[in-house]
């Protein structure tokens, strides 16, 4: 048995980054909020750079609960879509080259529960999602968001998502 020669690192990076950017750049609302997504290997961290338009209570000032909820929901959906893409481009039976990255399939939110732990400061915010269960039809995802200090979360959320139907492989 001959093992396949590993691809050069630049080729892999380029393909992963292209897949991620095709996922993120296609959604107007992500651009509107200004959310960026960092990647290390397959781990994603969403970043919400601070902007005055995100304020919900001008007197404190604090981030709008709706902006925080959106940031968490975006992070959860991107994590799920990314996990699907990852299997397509890096999985055991994937045969993908840099020029044919599959179109991402977007999960749909069924329900989303946000827990506001402390008020969001006028600073950059970060979030990471964990897929706790991903079945053929449904997925359950948990998201945590923080500012400055990873161990002091300012919000967390759990949601259920309807997975897009997979076309049979042909």
């Amino acid at each position: 048995m001959m093992r396949k020669r590993p691809e050069p690192v630049q080729v892999i990076k380029q393909r992963r980054d292209a897949a991620l950017s095709s996922l993120v750049s296609g959604v107007p609302f992500i651009r509107f909020l200004g959310v960026q997504i960092d990647r290390r290997g397959d781990e994603l961290t969403a970043v919400l750079p601070y902007d005055d338009k995100l304020i919900g209570n001008p007197m404190l000032p604090a981030l709008h609960g709706g902006a925080t909820a959106a940031f968490l929901e975006i992070t959860a959906i991107m994590e799920l879509a990314w996990a699907g893409l990852w299997d397509d481009i890096e999985g055991a039976d994937a045969d993908v080259h840099n020029d044919d990255i599959p179109t991402p399939r977007m999960p749909k939110t069924i329900d989303f529960t946000v827990d506001y732990l402390r008020s969001g400061l006028p600073r950059d915010a970060y979030a990471r999602a964990k897929v706790n269960r991903s079945g053929r039809r449904y997925a359950s995802v948990h998201v945590e968001a923080w500012q400055d200090n990873r161990s002091r979360l300012f919000a967390q959320a759990t949601g259920h998502f309807l997975m897009p139907s997979r076309e049979p492989k042909g």
Binding site: G26, V27, P28, F29, R31, F32, L33, D52, K53, L54, I55, G56, N57, P58, A62, H64, G65, G66, A67, A69, A70, F71, E73, I74, M106, K108, T109, I110, D111, F112, T113, V114, D115, Y116, S119
Partner: protein, 145 residues
């Protein structure tokens, strides 16, 4: 029982809601507010699209509308001394909002204790028989010092 008199809180709440940067940015419009009930509409806007293929707006935009509307309902409640913050908000998405149409949220503060307000909200589009989403939330009641 006496008729409910429009409270100062209602006027203050209206001024406050209309000054929220994020609500303005998303194009929210306060339609009604009084005694623990609020109605806020949001016009369709291409910037809010979450699914580029269908043009359906992002769940995060619907969340913002319901969070704001629920918060407004709390602030306008006669028992609320003005300030509030969201503790918890659960949103159920029943169906996609129709692309191109405005959506409207109606929120009602159905129970208030000394420290917490409990709120329900519903979001509708032009098909008012089938909700787009519903939410239940708890909000803090800040009594100050």
């Amino acid at each position: 029982m006496t008729d409910s008199v429009p409270k100062d809180t209602t006027k203050l709440a209206r001024q406050f809601i209309e000054a929220i940067p994020y609500a303005r940015e998303l194009g929210m419009n306060l339609e009604e507010i009084s005694d623990g009930r609020a109605v806020i509409s949001m016009a369709y806007n291409k910037d809010l699209i979450g699914d580029p293929e269908s043009g359906v707006i992002h769940g995060g935009a619907v969340s913002a509308l319901m969070d704001t509307c629920a918060g407004a309902a709390v602030m306008s409640h006669p028992e609320t001394p003005f300030s509030t913050a969201t503790l918890d908000l659960r949103i159920d998405y029943m169906r996609s909002a129709t692309p191109g149409h405005a959506i409207t949220a109606i929120a009602e503060c159905y129970h208030v204790t000394r420290t917490v307000a409990f709120v329900r909200a519903t979001t509708l589009d032009e098909d008012t028989d089938r909700p787009v989403a519903t939410a239940t939330g708890t909000f803090t009641i800040s009594r100050g010092k």
